[in-house]
Amino acid sequence: MALLEAKDLHVGYRTFEGYLHVLNGVKIEVDEGERVGLVGETGCGKTTTVKTILRVLPMPPAQVQGGEILYRGEDVLRMSTHAVRDLRRREITAIFQDPLQALNPMFTVGTQLRDILKDSKAGRDGGRLTKRDIEKRCIVALQETGMPDPERIMTNYPSQLSGGMRQRVCIAEALSREARLLLADEPTTNLDVTIQDQILRKLDELVDEKGTSVLMITHSMGVVRDLTQRLYVMYAGSMVETARTKELLACPRHPYTQGLMKSVPRLTGEGISEGIPGRIPNYLEPPSGCRFHPRCEHVMPVCKEAIPPFYAVDEDHFAACYLYRS
């Protein structure tokens, strides 16, 4: 059984302009100990997917129209709020994109970290941790992220720390209670390039050590190449392709993925690539059938009629495209 399995997820937002149908049949599987990447352009529904899994999507305006999210076989979407909270305390954790927004500016790092552990029930037999244990684990969690002088960091307010330091604090918070699954939503996008690499390496090291499963959301191909074993490509709220990371990067099959690979700038390349013509569709009136069809050079009549299912194109390599119907 997969650790996490999202099936045919449909999520939309009710707004003034009308109904935005964002997630259109999302499927993801993360196995125990596996590291999975989820790539796609900005606005393709990656963050909505993560927030739906965590059950922190503001509803309304958001609405889950259908599908299920199974964690160890249990549907997260149908759990009681109590059960979901226990799940967050013990099993699932997350790091968000913007470390400047993710820490409460009114409280010290120590206060926030301590409260997480206080409520985590991470003590023996699911009980509370003792005060001394909490203190010790806070320090260890900060130390693990490579932060110098954790005792002093604990007394600091977020505004006294740099972006990189704050993201380290976020990582420490996320990993402090030994969760089994980490959802990392573009954890380094808002950081300086030089810091990005350091933080990713540290994160890589830590999840390796703890055996945490990871769903890494990003729009950077470099990040997924280094950090993930399997990859999902998302376009406009639908999964278009999945395979082992190496295979997918070497030999993309879906026309969208092929275009995406071409638009990655290469240092050794022939200048700036042409990219994919057109833009991500409007979710108010999304294209019928395959949402990529208005931008696709191989478009066929059937593409406009129905959402293509995943077709096996190779061993453990699937593409949601009618080109591979046979």
Binding site: M106, D119, S120, Y157
Partner: protein, 354 residues
């Protein structure tokens, strides 16, 4: 040896004391300016203070005698000099209306109003914040809708109208509360220590008097509190609703922190800061704006005294009243600033310049 955090705390305390000192000095200057302003404005407003004091039957000689006694025959700067000299000796002159030293009047009336508006503030903080937190957390729910409607009504209805309605229902119809005054006329008031009737009764061990005094406070205090419950509740409601959408609150939930902790600690702290500023101003406003409610409930308070001095062109009392109101604003603003410094670490860090 001092730990780094100790040193930091010490530094915070030092800058805080320095800041408070600076603000106090500023306040003295502001009050000084205010006294000059009100001193001259009071004297150029039409009307003869001597005539107001002595009545229509006074002869020219009698009026002249009063003018000499009050230095009204001298030039303005000289008059101000006399007034300032008196002030330094704790003498604000004699009230033309009550015929008593102004200081005696103030000592009698200020505590009555302070007791009233402190109690009103207490009511408005408890009810207004409870309403605001609930409405903000369950924004766009039926409770939010009802509280919005009630708030608009509360803001639109003048407090003296509320006072009259409350008095009619609770004391005339239902006989649940007394209608006027601070304690019944037949009751012996406790010896004055603080001037707060409830507190003085408790100090004197007269517990039944304290209880009765408290019931006398409820209706007028509530009449004054309604508009503040409405306004402050709405302010808290909107900042709670806004902060609820912040990433950091989502993160607190993701990390499994329990809801009560999120709401009353992590959400309330940043949300209450704009409200605290308004609360301070509201409190200071009540000092002079409570007069209509004081009239309705026959409350022997400062706001009513202030109004009477203005209507009677009671020069010394007018100047003193304006200064007391100015002083209230200065003190309350300073307290609010200190409170916010404790609530908001970003202010603290900025002030330290690091």
């Amino acid at each position: 040896m001092l730990s780094p955090s100790r040193v930091l705390e010490g530094a915070v305390k030092d800058t805080m004391l320095k800041y408070i000192g600076l603000r106090l000095v500023q306040s003295v200057f502001v009050l000084f300016g205010l006294s000059i302003l009100i001193f001259f404005i009071a004297r150029v407003v039409p009307g003869d203070p001597a005539r107001a004091m002595m009545g229509y039957l006074a002869t020219q000689d009698q009026l002249q005698a009063v003018r000499v006694e009050m230095h009204l025959d001298k030039s303005f700067p000289v008059q101000y000099y006399y007034w300032l000299r008196g002030l330094l000796h704790g003498d604000l002159g004699r009230s033309a209306y009550t015929k008593r030293p102004v200081v005696t009047d103030l000592v009698q009336y200020i505590p009555a109003t302070l007791e009233l508006i402190l109690f009103a503030t207490l009511i408005s903080v408890v009810l207004g914040q409870a309403m605001g937190i609930l409405a903000g957390y369950f924004r766009n729910s039926w409770f939010d809708g009802v509280s919005r409607l009630v708030s608009y009504l509360g803001i639109a209805t003048p407090s003296f109208v509320i006072a009259i309605l409350l008095m009619f229902f609770f004391s005339q119809v239902l006989h649940l509360a007394p209608s006027v005054g601070r304690i019944p006329i037949m009751m012996t008031a406790p010896p004055t220590v603080t001037g707060f009737m409830v507190l003085d009764s408790l100090l004197a061990g007269q517990f039944s008097t304290a209880l009765v005094a408290l019931t006398h406070l409820v209706l007028p205090a509530f009449s004054l509190a309604v508009i503040h419950i409405a306004q402050e509740g709405r302010i808290t409601r909107s900042s709670i609703a806004e902060n609820l959408g912040k990433d950091y609150i989502t993160m607190h939930r993701v990390h499994g922190i329990r809801t009560s902790r999120i709401v009353f600690k992590y959400l309330l702290r940043p949300s209450i800061i704009p409200t605290v500023t308004v609360m301070g101003l509201d409190f200071a406003f009540l000092m002079s704006n409570a007069f209509l409610v004081e009239l309705v409930f026959m409350w022997p308070g400062f706001a009513r005294y202030a109004l009477t001095t203005m209507l009677n062109k009671d020069l010394n009392a007018m100047v003193a009243v304006v200064l007391v109101i100015g002083l209230t604003f200065a003190v309350v603003n300073l307290l609010v600033d200190i409170l916010i410094t404790f609530l908001d670490p970003t202010v603290r860090i900025q002030r330290r310049g690091g």
